[in-house]
């Protein structure tokens, strides 16, 4: 199958069973994100934004439909193949950073590289490059508890980009930050998109964060209801 675009979803639906009730979280989603695009995904709570992001990251499976990411139908990959695929192809940023508290910033960023065949020197160079991109090379030896929320999120971004994935998926990356830190993080994501040509899919409630995207999509009750250029651009 010839698939255009970096990310392509065809007729994707996702259902959950809660008690005996069947919940239709996503319904018949058609989505195409091109290489180098910066797309914001907005919508009210429970609309299925995070679920959609999880499906694209391969950490959840669709009930029906196909998910093509860089010409791979990830719905067909098994657990082990998905783990390996995620490691190389996708960087994930979470709202609450989820850094390992007992590891330094350097060691947290290094984690994805431990899964690759790479010399210690090469690993170290790549970690320092990633930390430099997020402006935290001076904080490499600090534990997460010694960093501010904004810095922790920047370490999480470094961890997401250290393996040089083409796609970055960010789930409410500014949701737990003050305005200043949120701006820094969004500028960083913008730079990753513009300078490093990363394809970014951003889930957010915040219109200011969405303003950094080149395109904004809206999800309501599990369906993509509109696709517009950001009004802030």
């Amino acid at each position: 199958m010839n698939v255009e675009g970096m990310i392509k979803l065809k007729n994707v639906s996702k259902e959950f069973m809660r008690a005996s009730e069947r919940l239709h979280v996503l319904q018949n989603i058609q989505l195409s994100v091109g290489e180098g695009e910066f797309v914001a995904l907005m919508g009210p709570s429970g609309s299925g934004k995070s679920t959609l992001l999880n499906l694209i990251a391969g950490i959840d499976h669709p009930t029906t439909g196909e998910i093509w990411v860089q010409e791979t139908d990830i719905a067909r990959l098994n657990e082990s193949q998905l783990a390996s695929w995620r490691c190389r192809r996708v960087g994930f940023i979470f709202q609450f950073y989820y850094l390992v508290p007992v590891l330094t910033a350097f060691e947290n960023v290094e984690l994805p590289l431990l899964l690759m065949k790479m010399s210690k020197k090469n690993r170290s160079d790549r970690v320092m490059t990633a930390l430099k991109i997020v402006g935290l090379e001076e904080r490499a030896k600090h534990l997460p508890s010694q960093l501010s929320g904004g810095e922790e999120q920047r370490v999480a971004i470094a961890r997401a980009i250290v393996a040089d994935p083409k796609i970055i998926l960010a789930d409410e990356p500014t949701g737990d930050l003050d305005a200043k830190s949120a701006t820094e993080v969004m500028k960083l994501l913008e730079a990753l998109n513009q300078e490093f040509k990363k394809t970014i899919l951003l889930v957010t409630h915040d219109p200011k964060a969405a303003a950094y995207a080149k395109k904004t999509l809206h999800l309501e009750k599990g369906a993509l209801v509109e696709s517009v250029s950001s009004i802030y651009n």
């Binding site: 709570s45 999880n54 989820y98």
Partner: protein, 384 residues
Amino acid sequence: MRFIRFILRNIFRSKKRSLLTFLNIAISLFLFCALDCILSTLKNFIHESEQSLVLVVRDKHSTFMNGGVPLAYVDEIRKVPGVLDLSTNLFVIVQPKKEGEEPIFTISIVPQGIDWMRKDFREIPQDERDAFKKTERTVALVGKQVMDRYGWKVGQMVTVDAANVNARMEVKIVGEVPSGIAADNILLHFDYLSEVLGQPGIAHSITLKIASRDMIPRISSAIDKMFENRPVQTETLTEKAAFSDFMSSFGPIEWIIRIISFLVIISSVSITANAIAMSMRERSREVAVLKSLGFTRRLVLSLILSESVTLASLGGTLGSFGAYFFFAFYGVSLRLGPFSYFVVNPATLAVGIAIAMMIGLLSGLVPAFHAAQLSISNTLRRVG
């Protein structure tokens, strides 16, 4: 190797919990090694006696250290085909002169028996054995532990009193028993003890040196048949059987030790499993994030098992070596009935560490399996 730092950091994430788990395993393994050390000391004696070319003749109807075999039987026993040599024996508990000192189990033998009766006797240097055989009757070979305990030296004259008997002995130490059960005993000449105790004409037992193990049934039956219609009937046993009979007075000691060891290990597995499970519950989101980064189920399983096995191995190593050094320094002065000289042998040490690793593996298995199976999306799900 790449994950060693990650594993070590996680082990000591909650220092208090890790320390308590570590101590629990260390204490369990210390107890295991200590109990096994006692058991193996007893079993070693049985094993050694299984190989020996020695039989013991005793009064069929009396218990240990009571009654006796008439010395009149000795010449007849000596003539039984296959009997190469024999020693008449008396046993007594003696007390050093100073009050409050520990009693010492004392064995008296025919001096020539020192060369063949028991393996630990043969470990006495030849010149000291010769001195015991060749000089006068009032000489003694004293176990190393007794020497150490009382600060006695070879060449010294010592005075001891027989417990419950109004008898005093003054003997010259001509040598030292370096190891084995006799390392906690005193060896005297049979004639001298017999005279001091005022028990002429009987021996608590007669030890026979025989030509071959194949002859055991024939010799035993010939001797016992010879005296079946005499006032004192005999019972001729292998050294192992005599020992086992003696051991029966301690009750089912092996089973008790094994059950206690097993319960100690089970308790340790439960406590460690609980600590690991608690740690994993706290880290479930972190595990989900690791999986989102590309950590496979197998890797997550391996990492968590490595944490529990490493922690348990460290604790087990401390406990096992703790027991090893404890018994190396203090085991020589510990006593259980006539047994002493308890040492943790290298095999017990290796088994102890292997058990610690098994504790880590068993206690980490369920939490690790749960973590490996964790759904990333369910764990990280939030309203969105």
